[in-house]
């Protein structure tokens, strides 16, 4: 299935959770926050949150800024 991740279309297996997406993107252990279709997905819900075709995911982190 195709899911939009940070503005790019990613081809992911069906039954893909946020946790699996984070593993696939090599972001395990990083300080990040995840938004799914404009709603925050708390860390505690990454495992049980399943992605579906056409979902829009944003994964953000902290960077330098003023």
């Amino acid at each position: 299935m195709n899911v939009h991740v940070n503005g790019k279309v990613e081809s992911l297996p069906t039954d893909c959770s946020i946790t699996i997406l984070i593993e696939q993107m090599d972001l395990v252990g990083k300080r990040i926050a995840v938004e799914l279709n404009l709603d925050i997905v708390p860390k505690s819900e990454h495992l049980q949150t399943q992605l579906k075709e056409g979902d829009v995911v944003e994964i953000v982190h902290a960077i330098g800024g003023g």
Partner: protein, 260 residues
Amino acid sequence: MTDSKITIAGVEYGSRLLVGTGKYKDMAETAEAIAASGTEIVTFAVRRTNLGQNADEPSLLDVISPEKYTLLPNTAACYTADDAVRTCRLARELLDGHDLVKLEVLGDEKTLFPNVVETLKAAETLINDGFKVMVYTSDDPIIAKQLAEMGCVAVMPLAAPIGSGLGIRNPHNIRMILEDATVPIIVDAGVGTASDAAIVMELGCDGVLMNTAIAAAQKPVLMASAMKKAVEAGREAFCAGRMPRKMYASASSPIDGTFF
């Protein structure tokens, strides 16, 4: 008046200097300059994670640790209330529920002046959602008062455009804002060098927030140290109360006892 602490949202801070983390050469310089500034509150931006590139790049939060500093996520680059609210919600998730934020909703790229209408909208939504909002705004005393009355925990008027280094352009407006202040007033943006920071503090502001003045100096770490001293000196001078200005001279040595 000998106070040296600033209280924001019920928390006391020893340093009245707040700093940003943008525009530094690298993470090491960022960390060194921030340590030299003596700051306790550090602002940062929230952006998309790089996917599949620079996996080993150090993260800002590894260098500026949330255990050591109060982290202040900002909504830089947001031009609508909706984008700013969305950014704050992501930041709260990123920082495990930490809800102090620096709200800035910009008007245009050329001036980076705030869009005050969108700022008011965003502030209201965020406060209702439980955020503690430190808000970047224009130096308009009426809007500053409204933002404080809404429940913002600090009002942060600009001294000059962001990144301009022009220094405090309208000290009279800042003084008017201070006269009616019910929350800390922190000048955010426009400081260029140490004397600018000292002037901000001499006016009676509770603090000053800066980024470019330090990061774009020839020697950022040295400028960070200069800013620390300037903020302290300016605050002490404000608390000490300056002498009145006079038109003519007034001799410092007595006339009595002269032998010539």
